[in-house]
């Protein structure tokens, strides 16, 4: 946020703006009644937001000012104070859906990415990859100039060289009406790109446009077509849902709208509203959603259609109007599955109108169709689900598309291949052999951030401008358009797809900004007016651009074929399921060290993917944890390390995509195992494989269970979990909320000496709601970005030296086959009787008058005694100088408000003291109290489910004080009498009374 100068700067810039009618309009529209608020300092935070954005508005061109943005100011431009953080709204697109972001920038140096509270898909939260994008921006491995490859030789080229080649070539293509031109684009929801495409098709009618995205939601679209004969997408609304059934659908993390869904899901999990939703999840491999479910069924992906049909049958039995064809289960399932289906059906039927069924992208179209059908039967439309037209509805599926391209390449019909982003050579279906086919095109041009696997196959690699460096626009899942505005001059130059396509279509090459500016986005059919444009830039969303719900009804003839195909058996053999990786997604983030070091939510493995297999299946296959295995499907085969994880369905192996990159960059190259070779066009989601243990061991660097855990350890851990993670069943809690406190009673042990009086005006404290936490790791990345936390690499993690200040502990409960999962974020508890302090011989860690356990880096000599005496083991030690090899560019990502720690120094969570101080200073200058919620640590800010609450305990009315008194509140290891300032809220589960734990 901003210090004293900041305030002046803002006022100055405000003066410039306050007069303009647009601004008044903007203010009134955006924050109803803010005109008063401007005078009333209480909501200063909103203020900074507007002002930050307003700066953006003053000199939008300023974002594109060369030099000044990167180098220190020689002369101070108007409306800008050095060293003051300003926030700009922008957006990041991932697989054709965006999340709106607010980017904090110091002197034109973006350092921190947060969610945009005004954006419907963000609501202030940001996913781990989005937050880590700032590191991607400063990635020194990003390509800096065009590369030309010819006959095995490669040559760095200047932009002039590229243009010298491209301009005549493109002219030639236009002359030939685009004959032999194929464009392969990654999924994009950009209205501008769509507009340009239209122009392109007009200019080059014979050009072909293909799309490829390794992880798409095509099946869902296909399902809609099956059910309605119309290309719609579903936008779930969990805030209204009482019963949710997820069929292999990772709603809370894998969905393009996950952040909003998680928020809505958690809203009713706290058990305060007198109501609580119930989540049934069936999935082959544990996901964040499965972990959050009240009933989780581990089931092979291939059996889920059958399960779906059982549920349909069950609903029919409960009198739900299910089409005739679907009233009988397709085939018998095992008892557990049947119980699950029965319980789910019963609850769905009861909660008619407030229930929802969602299927995941891995499931075939018919399951999606069935979900549509059942949702309609349950009256979900308009309540828990709305259908909107898919903006790019009439397209063929990505697999069909890329297969078509491969065919034409093979047939030699492609003269010029222009690849916009993506990495098809690495992640296209293996059977197409696209990598080798690219060479068939006489001219191939690849636009991408890195000179990656695909670039290496192309005649030309053209550096792409990062989304933080360039203009663009894109739609959220619900269709809302965001304008993507740059925060910094492109570090290495770089083009955007917009610019390339425009150049190709021969339209006078305007700046990307003008291209975006000229696109009608708000549904009015005409470009935004000045006011609308400014508002769009400021808010980060184009008002009224969301897609309107459409009335759809299931075609009568749909049910038959759907039913027919649900019965298809899972078949013999081990099923390998392809998963989107929580860190690198489909591989595109492989060179991002923050994400590589981010532990997988379930396995806690860093710097690797692995063949995830359940204990029983592992025993069956005779495979140890960490043993290398060979997976063979037909003539395709890979080798990968096995990772035994409770909760993986029998006979299933989970294969996270996106590792084993060969041209990702120094960070990502050779990390993990490439599983794409097993992925073929006819089975892009799951294949049958033969598994053979190879005996060789492989080190998986996990941040939990650092070594294979022995019997007594396992036993003891089981005994402790109940102590550490307090749980209650919703039904009981509702009956008697104080039971938790009673059972756990935390008597205050007698102190040897008088309690210490804390002089501070504020007493900072925190609560973490385990009912709300879904273990998505967003907090960990937020903390890493905010606090300049070093990345230590696989070897160090394997040694147990990871540096994350906040870690999300994951515990399994119950049987290894069907475990219940609980997450517990643990950071420094800021104990009042902090054990770490008294043992430090040099008083390097001491208490502040506001109850913070402060770590004085420059006083620390590194005895590490504090860590030994910390019962929560949240302290982190710089065993080496981890910033030794940090390049100048990467250093731009440092948060200037936080010290970069030296070698031999202990560090830990500070409750983001820099944020606390900046708000305090500002409040002091304005002689006003600090409003509750004005201070938000990075972790709390980005938490999609608002599980983390921070505030002043001295103010009894503050949210955190209330939560500290909450009946679910408890302290971790309270019996040690360390008096932690961070309290946890017990986890509520809401199992159906009918089914016993499925």
């Amino acid at each position: 946020m901003s210090g004293e100068n900041g305030k002046r700067a803002h006022w100055r810039s405000l003066d410039e703006l306050a007069d303009t009618p647009e601004f008044r309009e903007l203010v009134s529209a955006e924050f109803p009644g803010l005109e008063e608020d401007i005078a009333d300092p209480a909501t200063r935070r909103e203020f900074v937001k507007i002002l930050g954005a307003s700066l953006g508005m003053v000199g939008l061109t300023s974002c594109r000012w060369p030099k000044e943005m990167i180098l220190p100011f020689a002369s101070q431009p108007a409306g800008r104070a050095p060293g003051v953080a300003v926030q700009y709204a922008t957006a990041m697109e991932l697989c054709g859906a965006t999340v709106g972001l607010l980017v904090t920038s110091y002197d034109g140096r973006p350092v921190k990415i947060e969610g945009n509270p005004l954006h419907p898909a963000s609501l202030g939260a940001a996913s781990a990859p989005a937050q880590a994008a700032v590191l991607e921006l400063y990635d020194p491995a990003r390509s800096r100039q065009p590369v030309r490859r010819e006959g095995g030789k490669e040559a760095r080229q200047s932009w002039e060289d590229f243009d010298a080649f491209a301009t005549p070539h493109f002219n030639g293509l236009r002359a030939s009406r685009g004959r032999g031109l194929a464009i392969l684009s990654e999924a994009s929801s950009s209205p501008t790109l769509a507009r340009l495409r239209v122009g392109l098709v007009e200019a080059l009618p014979e050009a072909r446009w293909y799309g490829w995205e390794p992880l798409s939601r095509d099946n869902e679209l296909e399902g809609a077509r099956l059910a309605f004969g119309r290309s719609v997408r579903g936008v779930p609304d969990l805030s209204r849902a009482r019963v949710i059934v997820s069929l292999d659908g990772d709603l809370l993390a894998g969905h393009p709208d996950a952040l909003r869904l998680a928020r809505e899901f958690a809203a009713t999990r706290r058990g305060d509203g007198g109501e609580m939703n119930r989540l049934f999840a069936a999935e082959p491999v544990p996901s964040v959603t499965g972990a959050a479910a009240d009933h989780r069924l581990a089931l092979a992906a291939g059996s889920i259609p059958a399960l779906a049909s059982s549920i349909a049958a069950g609903l029919a039995a409960h009198g739900v109007a299910v089409p005739e064809a679907l009233r009988k289960p397709a085939r018998a399932l095992d008892a557990r599955a049947e119980r699950f289906a029965a319980a789910a059906a019963a609850d769905l039927a009861v909660a008619r109108g407030r229930s929802l069924i969602v299927a995941g992208p891995r499931q075939p179209a018919e399951v999606h169709a069935l979900a549509w059908i059942l949702n309609e039967a349950l009256g979900a439309f308009g309540a828990t689900l709305r259908a909107v037209d898919d903006p790019d509805g009439d397209r063929e599926s990505h697999v069909q598309s890329v297969t078509g391209l491969a065919g034409r390449l093979r047939a030699g019909e492609v003269e010029t291949l222009l690849i916009l982003g993506g990495n098809a050579a690495y992640d296209a279906p293996a059977d197409l052999g696209l990598a080798d086919l690219i060479g068939r095109a006489r001219v191939s041009i690849h636009l991408s951030l890195h000179d990656n696997e695909t670039s290496r196959r192309c005649a030309w690699h053209v550096p792409r401008a990062h989304f933080l460096e360039s203009w663009g626009d894109a739609r959220a899942w619900d269709g809302t358009v965001s304008v993507q505005q740059p925060l910094i001059e492109a570090l290495y130059g770089g083009r955007t797809p917009l610019e390339l396509v425009a150049a190709l279509s021969g339209a006078r090459v305007e700046s990307a900004r003008d291209l975006v500016r000229a696109t009608p986005t708000d549904g009015s059919g005409s470009p935004l007016g000045e006011a609308g444009w400014r508002r769009a830039l400021h808010d980060g969303v184009v008002e009224g651009s969301g897609l309107p719900p459409v009335r759809v009804s299931v075609r009568a003839e749909a049910a038959g074929p759907v039913a027919a195909r649900l019965g298809v058996g899972a078949g013999r053999g081990t099923e390998a399921v392809f998963l989107a990786d929580a860190s690198v997604h489909d591989g595109r983030f492989a060179n991002n060290a923050w994400l590589q070091e981010l532990p997988d939510p379930i396995t806690r493995v860093t710097w690797d993917n692995a063949a995830l297999v359940g204990p029983a299946t592992a025993a069956e296959l005779g495979v140890r944890h960490g043993e290398m295995v060979a997976l063979t499907a037909g003539e395709r085969s890979i080798e990968i390390a096995a990772c035994v994880v409770p909760g993986v369905a029998e006979g299933v192996i989970g294969l996270p995509l996106g590792y084993g990159r060969r041209a990702a960059g120094p960070v990502g190259d050779g990390v993990g195992f490439d599983v794409y070779p097993l992925r073929v066009s006819e089975a892009p989601h799951a294949v049958k494989v033969d598994v053979r243990g190879l005996g060789r061991s492989y080190v998986l660097a996990s941040t939990q269970d650092h070594h294979a855990i022995d019997a007594i350890g396992m036993e003891e851990r089981g005994r402790r979990i109940g102590e550490l993670i307090v749980e209650a069943e919703w039904a009981e809690y509702r009956r008697d909320p104080d039971a938790i406190r009673r059972e756990r009673h935390e008597p205050k042990p007698l102190a040897l000496f008088g309690e210490l009086e804390y002089g501070g005006d504020h007493q900072w404290g925190m609560t973490i709601d385990l009912s709300a936490c879904i273990g998505c790791n967003a907090c960990a990345v937020a903390c890493q970005a905010e606090n300049n936390i070093p990345v230590v690499g696989k070897k160090q993690v394997a040694r147990g030296r990871e540096m994350h200040w906040i870690r999300v502990d994951r515990y399994f409960k119950g049987s290894p086959e069907a475990p219940a999962v609980a997450f517990q974020p643990v950071a420094c508890q800021h104990c009042e009787n902090a054990p770490c302090e008294s043992v430090c011989p040099v008083a390097a860690t001491v208490h502040s008058s506001e109850g913070l356990n402060s770590m004085v880096y420059n006083r620390c000599v590194g005895t590490r005694y504090c860590s030994n005496n910390c019962p929560y083991k949240v302290r982190r030690f710089n065993y080496f100088n981890y910033f030794k090899r940090t390049s100048q560019v990467e250093k731009m990502a440092f948060n200037p408000d936080v010290t970069v720690r030296a070698r031999g120094v202990m560090e830990k969570c500070t409750f983001c003291v820099q944020r606390i101080e900046s708000v305090k200073i500002a409040a002091k200058n304005e002689r006003r109290p600090i409003a509750d919620g004005a201070i938000v640590p990075a972790c709390a800010q980005t938490c999609p489910t608002e599980a983390i609450v921070f505030g002043d305990l001295r103010d009894p009315s503050s949210r955190v004080s209330q939560l500290h008194r909450h009946p679910r509140a408890y302290s971790l290891l309270a019996e040690l009498n360390v008096q932690p300032r961070n309290r946890y809220l017990a986890k509520l589960r809401n199992p159906s009374s009918g089914a016993e734990e499925a």
């Binding site: 102190a751 000496f753 008088g754 309690e755 210490l756 804390y758 009042e832 009787n833 902090a834 054990p835 302090e837 008294s838 008083a843 001491v846 208490h847 502040s848 008058s849 008096q979």
Partner: protein
Amino acid sequence: MSEPRLSVVAEGPKLYGLLAEFDSVGKLLAAAERVREAGFTRFDAHSPIPVHGLDEAMGIRPSRLPLLVLGGGASGLGAGLLLQWWTNAVDYPFMISGKPLFGLPAAIPVTFELTILLSALGVVGGLVVANGWPQFHHPLFASERFRRATTDRFFVSVEAADPRFELETVRGLLESAGASHVEEVED
């Protein structure tokens, strides 16, 4: 006492005293006792080992070293407490683990160690000063025989500076006490 003799004495090197050698502890003790009884004050006994009863035989007053220990100990105790109280509670107080700024229990170890340290330094310091160490030159070192004083022989030395010193009488006294050899030692 005749002139020439004196003049000779005056001219020749000055006499330090007489050094008598004995071959057993018993004889040494006896001799030391005789010399003391004869009223000599400036004499000394030399032995390779501490001989018990010698201090009585020579009439040595008990040493006052214990007082130094008391002094050292007391100052160590005071210094220890003062140091910890002033540094942690007065000069630069910290809030640490919700503990009091100065607590006696936590102060005991350091205080105790300082007490011991200063006492020990007091003793050794006292010893060195009282014994007039280091003293690298002493007339007795000139005697070849005296070298065995640290090995297996016992000596009594009577200084010429003693008011009752009479060369011959002293020699007689020592020989009659059983000295196996008596020699003059020059200063």
